[in-house]
């Protein structure tokens, strides 16, 4: 009611009512709309909805829709160029009888858990070191991020050269320092090749852990450390009893992100071994790609990829539950 004085009818007087109907009918709803929109946006749940809408839309289009298509493909016999027919869980049954799939299954878990554990341990160690004051601290911190910033394919190609059967720089150094007399075939043996893949993944992913954990460490109040020190706690006890509990939430988030990314890793393995030698380093990502893209069996390929989903879901639900519980 406060805006009535601005209304043309009241300003022009009764005589003008007959000559100015059009502006009246236009201006009145506009003002009302503006006002009601303003009032509407003042309601918290409406404003939240409006602000979240673009994100939701992006998630729906780029995450939910492809996921739904993936689910559908996994239960069909879809091949490139032909419509797929619903075949229930047949693709999954075939996978369970496929020795290469079972190997990929095992490899995916070995790769993910060992790599994530090493990234956490080394990332924490690096974060603790970087949390001290020393010269060129900023340059070192920025430099640490390099492996994470460089496109994976490029850095992996460099590693491929370093592991090359003929030209490996590691072999050259080991031979010239007299440690070995015969070259090591880094990618020519199943176990060794898996070790190399894990090492490269750790090299690439560790900086993410280090920098994120460092951010967590910097939120820890130094007074707490001082108090613990006065109480007689040594460095290890201070870390275990003070630092670790305080940065646990951020640590769990980092581990969660890293596990998801490592479970679904593709580029690194595809560039270095393509699942070889003798299919000993296939993971879900690389094997699904071969079946879906090279054999054109999109349904089967989707079913291989989707095998990840329940495991990832369990990991995510557990970690989120744990974080909330501690909150």
């Amino acid at each position: 009611m406060a805006d009535h004085p601005r209304h043309p009818i009241r300003q022009d007087g009764a005589a003008s009512v007959a000559v100015a109907p059009a502006p009246v009918t236009l201006a009145l709803p506009q003002a009302r709309v503006r006002r009601s929109l303003g009032q509407l946006l003042e309601r918290e749940h409406v404003l939240a909805g409006v602000l979240l809408a673009p994100t939701l839309l992006i998630l729906l289009v780029f995450i939910a829709y492809p996921f739904a298509i993936g689910l559908w493909l996994a239960v069909t016999d879809k091949v490139v160029g032909r419509p797929g027919n619903f075949i229930g869980l047949e693709n999954f049954r075939v996978n369970l009888n496929d020795a290469i799939f079972l190997r990929a299954f095992q490899n995916t878990f070995v790769y993910t858990f060992i790599a994530t554990f090493l990234k956490l341990v080394l990332g924490m160690a690096a974060a603790l070191l970087l949390n001290h004051h020393f010269r060129f601290k900023r340059i070192v911190r920025a430099g640490m991020l390099l492996p994470w910033i460089i496109p994976t394919v490029l850095s992996t190609l460099a590693w491929q050269w370093m592991f090359d059967a003929t030209f490996s720089v590691f072999n050259w150094m080991l031979m010239h320092s007299g440690i070995i007399s015969k070259r090591i075939l880094w990618l020519g043996d199943g176990v060794l090749a898996m070790g190399c893949l894990i090492a490269v993944n750790v090299w690439r992913g560790m900086p993410f852990f280090a920098i994120t954990l460092l951010a967590g460490l910097q939120t820890v109040n130094p007074d707490l450390h001082e108090a613990a020190e006065i109480d007689g706690a040594n460095a290890w006890k201070r870390f275990w009893r003070v630092t670790l509990p305080l940065i646990k939430p951020i640590m769990l988030v980092v581990v969660l992100f890293s596990m998801i990314a490592t479970f679904a890793d593709f580029q690194l393995i595809y560039v270095l071994t393509r699942g070889g030698p003798y299919s000993s380093t296939h993971v879900f990502g690389t094997y699904a790609y071969e079946i879906a893209m090279r054999a054109a069996k999109l349904g089967q390929g989707a079913s291989i990829s989707l095998t990840l989903f329940p495991f990832l879901l369990v990991v995510i639900v557990f970690q989120l539950w744990y974080i909330r519980k501690n909150d």
Binding site: I100, T166, F167, G276, R294
Partner: protein, 438 residues
């Protein structure tokens, strides 16, 4: 405007008449007739055409293909895009083009892809039959890869065969005046070479080219085969396959470079140029790079055929071909472009630019002057007669593809090399092939 009116009034029939005349001229009128008749037809202004091919190992071939695309575009009034991407990226691009019904109008296919993507590409009977009739018949090995369900699904443009590149000087020192003709001789000379730290190089890692080149071919040379002709019965677990496995394991110990288990398709090229191996099964790219960068090596490099086994001499091979996508809105232009590229003058210039890396789709190209110019390339020319595709003696089907991409044959050899008994490796492959061919 006059040009535009003429172009827009051109119908498919007119265009077919024109290109038909070109084909006729090629057959009866010689090169002047060809040049006169084979002007590309013109199309409505603004017509676009997108060709997707691999990045060739011979850079001059890519330059020539782009030049041909530009020339066709200029003459036909069409905006031609020639896009070249890595070989390994072609499969995803094809799948995405077919599924989204958008993207390139023409895509280069390799091996049996016409079987894999048959539902997303046009029948091109007329185009392929024209090449077939004009040039003395498309080789069977290429027909098998592109002829699906009684229809030509892609126009074969040849292949890039592999033979053994070898060091003539080192082979002479090891007692071989020429490249060994049989597997036994091969192992014998290989043993001598390895004693002098000059092993033969062969990849057994996961890479679609070289490792399969050995696995399939050596199995066939010893008389083994994956399946029967109907691809109903898996036959890999045979005494012939076991012999091939035992031979390979013996070769591995006595003659081959032990880095091979970790090699991909490019490792042997690097090793040969670095002088760490004396021979390797490869396309002619080793030779071309040596010509440009390693003059001392090229002087002592020649090529030899895959040695004969008890069942003969074979190569694992498949065609390169051009497929027109079903979804294209420019079918007439695409057909005209593929026809024009396969017409002799254009194909000749592309063939010459490949400098021996490309073997033509028909016997006509066996007589090309290029082979006389450099006799060292002759084994590439002749290798096509010994070519077979995965799935032989059946067609290179979808199922054969699955066996290929699972590297079942390669892994059978790799596991035997790593110590699995030959009998067990053959049994393992039998189990896996049964699933692939189910």
């Amino acid at each position: 405007m006059a040009t535009r009116n003429t172009a827009s009034s051109m119908k498919r029939r007119t265009f077919l008449t024109m290109t038909g005349a070109a084909a006729g001229a090629a057959t009866v009128g010689g090169i002047p007739g060809i040049l006169q008749a084979q002007q590309p037809p013109s199309f409505p202004k603004g017509t676009k055409l997108h060709l997707l091919e691999w990045v060739s190992f011979v850079p001059a071939a890519d330059v020539e293909l782009k030049r041909l695309g530009a020339e066709f575009g200029k003459q036909a009034g069409v905006d031609v895009t020639v896009e070249l991407i890595n070989f390994n990226d072609l499969n995803p691009r094809i799948a995405s083009a077919i599924e989204t019904k958008a993207g390139p109008d023409i895509i280069q296919f390799h091996n049996n892809w016409a079987h894999l993507y048959a539902d997303g590409i046009m029948d091109v009977d007329e185009l392929a039959e024209q090449v077939d009739k004009r040039d003395g018949g498309i080789y069977d090995i290429f027909r098998q890869g592109t002829f699906v369900g009684g229809r030509w699904k892609a126009v074969p443009m040849g292949t890039s065969p592999a033979t053994f590149a070898y060091r003539t000087d080192w082979f002479k020192e090891a007692g071989a005046e020429k490249f060994p003709d049989t597997m036994d001789e091969f192992r014998k000379v290989g043993t001598e070479l390895k004693k002098k730290d000059r092993p033969i190089g062969q990849a057994f890692g996961h890479s679609l080219g070289d490792p399969n080149g050995w696995a399939y071919a050596v199995t066939w040379c010893f008389g083994g085969q994956e399946v029967d002709k109907e691809q109903k019965r898996v036959l890999i677990n045979s005494k012939e396959t076991i012999e091939a496995l035992k031979f390979t394991v013996a070769m591995w110990k006595d003659a081959l470079d032990e880095g091979g288990l970790a090699w991909d398709d490019s490792s042997n090229n690097r090793a040969y140029h670095a002088g760490t191996i004396s021979a390797t099964l490869n396309g002619s790219s080793i030779y071309f790079v040596a010509k440009r960068q390693f003059p001392d090596i090229v002087k002592v490099t020649d090529h030899g055929h895959m040695p004969k086994g008890p069942a003969g001499r074979f190569y694992q091979m498949g065609p390169q071909a051009r497929a027109i996508m079903k979804h294209t809105k420019n079918k007439d232009v695409a057909v005209a472009f593929v026809r024009w590229l396969m017409d002799r003058p254009q194909y000749d210039s592309y063939f010459a630019a490949n400098d021996g890396y490309l073997m033509g789709p028909t016997p006509f190209w066996e007589k090309h002057a290029l082979w006389e110019k450099d006799p060292k390339l002759a084994p590439f020319r002749d290798s096509v007669k010994f070519g077979r595709s995965p799935g032989w003696p059946g067609p290179p089907s979808r199922k054969a593809s699955e066996a290929l991409v699972k590297y079942i044959m390669v892994d059978m050899y790799a596991q035997a090399i790593k110590g699995m008994k030959a009998e067990d490796a053959a049994k393992w492959a039998e189990g896996e092939l049964k699933k692939a061919y189910a």
